[in-house]
């Protein structure tokens, strides 16, 4: 046992050294990423004129490009660092978690992507209000969109603070706040200058770097284990700190205490993805439904392969770095991938992976911000407040101002929640997307008798149920990790609201529809039906 400890000790020593010596290297690699992407963004933004240019990149991306951008958007720091770390420490349960994120894409591929592309222009609300009453449906859809974006954004910004302490060796509050502000300002610059086109390019570049880095590390880990996956698993078991040691190969370590909590999470993961507004908005950046389909196919391959790589990386980190070292490192679970990079390729690979992790946060917050801004400017300002009477460039002007406001709010929020446990926010974003957005999307695409009342009930009901259940749960009350530590008791026993709020969202959509007295316009319904399947109108409209 004392012999086995030696390599760990070396890594610990090296990690401490890194924290002192390499911030300069890490920052320069990140600086290079920023310089390159900023150059691309400025070049790409030269002919950003119309709303379609700003929100939907002129619908000029190809399926493969958009597939990379979707992967870049979707593989957030939570996916990359979080899943690697979860596998390194809890083994199988981390892998189990990643599968929900992948299978979810089949909902997007089969039911949502092409039909959305054919019926909408810029936002999710375009589709939902197509055949229902504009005002109430757009307002509800914009509110759920803003809620999902806000939760997700806050989680990313808070994550940035944690990453800083891990990667740059900045532990004091002020330093972390400055870095959060830098991320926020960079993001505002990207989105203001580049619009959707610039944001998309940042995501494409980031996806290349992330997947490339993961492939290099995976091959490296496998090479150490003689390209034998079984050997890797055995060395992970040998280095495991669990009792019994091979517990990491089977489910139960992370979710075993409360399986219903995981089931509730799994429902939200698999149904939430196709309701995430920033994912839906990506379908509008391609010219046709066929390209939207190709985007999702590319995204599925890239995301699927990436999660297979994280399986190797996670067990690799467990074997080469060790669960105890990871848990003790600043950043905890999230430090598994960076520490593995360090153990394999020294400071240079660590610097590269750190820069990719920052780029990840930057790309994801940019995507969320442009989605939230588009929803506010296009749905609330142009269509609800001004009822469509907006001068040609007025909407984009409002969208740009919204970007600045959201950027500032994100920075303040990110600084405000520092040190808080906000890991639940990503799961909450998925739960809201699945409870409030997906039912209405599916009903309006597939169910003729769906009505305005059904849509409004489902969206507000799903949103409220998800948030209220979280507020009543152990996330907020009664445990060591709660927002209010060891205060009160939770009324709702699970950390994830999906198991109740998602069925409720679907139920309210049905109930509101069957109790509606006002019938919807049958002509609009027929038009939506025909256009959603044939692409008539959507595909021609963009050939300027």
């Amino acid at each position: 046992m004392s012999l086995a400890l030696q390599p760990w000790e070396r890594v610990v020593a090296a990690a401490t050294e890194t924290a002192e010596n390499n911030p300069v290297l890490n920052i320069s690699i990140f600086g290079a990423f920023v310089a390159v992407t900023l150059f691309i963004v400025i070049r790409a933004s030269r002919n950003n004129k119309t709303a379609a240019d700003y929100y939907a990149a002129g619908r000029s991306f190809t399926g493969p490009q958009n597939g990379f951008a979707i992967a870049g958007d979707y593989l957030s720091a939570a996916s990359f660092l979080g899943i690697c770390g979860a596998i390194a420490i809890n083994g199988y349960d981390g892998f189990l978690y990643s599968i929900g994120f992948l299978v979810a894409w089949l909902v997007a591929l089969l039911l949502v992507a092409e039909l959305m592309r054919n019926t909408g222009k810029f936002t999710m609300a375009d589709v939902l209000s197509f055949r229902l009453k504009q005002g109430p449906v757009r307002m509800a859809a914009a509110i759920t969109t803003l809620a999902v974006c806000f939760f997700y954004l806050l989680a990313q910004m808070a994550g940035a603070g944690g990453l800083v302490s891990l990667l740059l060796g900045i532990h004091e509050q002020l330093g972390q706040s400055i870095v959060i502000a830098v991320v926020g300002v960079l993001m505002i610059v990207y989105v203001l200058i580049g619009g959707m086109k610039g944001t998309t390019w940042v995501q494409i570049v980031k996806a290349f770097l992330l997947i490339g880095g993961a492939i290099v590390m995976t091959v490296w880990v496998l090479a150490i284990n003689g390209f034998n996956f079984n050997t890797l698993l055995e060395s992970a078991v040998a280095a495991s700190a669990t009792d019994p040691k091979d517990a990491i190969l089977a489910p139960g370590l992370q979710y075993g205490k409360n399986p219903w909590d995981f089931i509730s999470l799994a429902i939200a993961l698999v149904l939430g993805t196709a309701g995430l507004p920033h994912v839906l908005m990506r379908f509008y950046t391609v010219p046709t439904a066929k390209e939207a389909r190709r985007s999702v196919v590319w995204a599925i391959w890239l995301i699927g392969i990436f999660y297979l790589l994280t399986l190797v990386l996670g067990y690799g980190a467990g074997a080469l770095v060790g669960a105890d070292v990871i848990k003790a490192a600043p950043g905890g679970v999230n430090s598994a991938a960076p520490l593995l990079a360090q153990a394999l390729g020294g400071p240079l690979l660590l610097g590269f992976i750190s820069a990719v992790a920052f780029a990840t946060i930057l790309a994801v917050v940019a995507g969320l911000t442009i989605t939230a801004a588009a929803s506010f400017a296009h749905d609330i300002y142009a269509n609800v407040v001004k009822k469509g009477n907006v001068p040609p460039d007025g909407e984009v002007k409002v969208a740009r101002r919204t970007v600045v406001v959201i950027g500032i709010l994100a920075v303040l929020g990110g600084i405000g929640v520092q040190g808080q446990n906000v890991a639940f926010l990503v799961a909450l974003a998925f739960a809201v997307a699945a409870s409030a957005n997906l039912p209405t999307i599916l009903y309006s695409l597939f169910w003729r008798r769906f009505t305005t009342r059904g849509a409004v009930w489902s969206m507000y009901g799903g949103l409220a149920a998800a948030i209220i259940l979280i507020v009543l749960s152990p996330v907020f009350w009664g445990t060591e990790t709660s927002v209010f530590k060891n205060v009160g008791t939770a009324i709702w026993p699970l950390n994830n609201p999906g198991i109740v709020s998602i069925p409720l969202g679907f139920f309210l959509g049905w109930l509101g529809s069957v109790t509606s007295t006002k019938p919807e316009d049958p002509k609009k319904a027929a038009e939506m039906d025909v256009r959603s399947l044939t692409g008539y109108g959507a595909e021609k409209a963009v050939e300027h």
Partner: protein, 116 residues
């Protein structure tokens, strides 16, 4: 490009209710739904079966198959395989059975609009 919904609609002249009842369109809709709906049910059932096994049948999932590889790992990798397979199956189905019909209907509608 003010973004009002009226702008999004192609110019009038098309009777969408009649078009919706056109045999060609009815057939397109039938083909689309009879593929995507059962497939969605199938992959959701398979995914939740896997989640339930991982939650309540941990002993079974831990059964070794070959070396350190156990039933749980194989079923998990099976999720990847079925996801990739359904993706490829849908693309091939859509290319062969959906795209030609929808292109034909789109061309018809464009002609109708031009003559209206």
């Amino acid at each position: 490009m003010s973004g009002s919904p009226a702008d999004a609609s192609p110019p009038g002249g098309i009777d969408y209710i009649a078009e919706e009842n056109d045999p060609k369109f009815v057939e397109l809709k039938r083909r689309h739904r009879s593929f995507v709906l059962p497939m969605t049910v199938a992959f959701l059932v398979w995914y939740f079966a896997y989640v339930l096994l991982s939650s309540f049948a941990t002993e079974f999932m831990a059964t070794p198959v070959w070396g350190a590889v156990n039933v749980g790992l194989l079923l998990g990798l099976g999720q990847f395989v079925t996801t990739f397979a359904i993706t490829m199956g849908y693309v091939s189905f859509a290319n062969r059975r959906l795209d030609p019909v929808s292109a034909e209907i789109r061309a018809d509608l464009e002609k109708q609009e031009a003559s209206a």
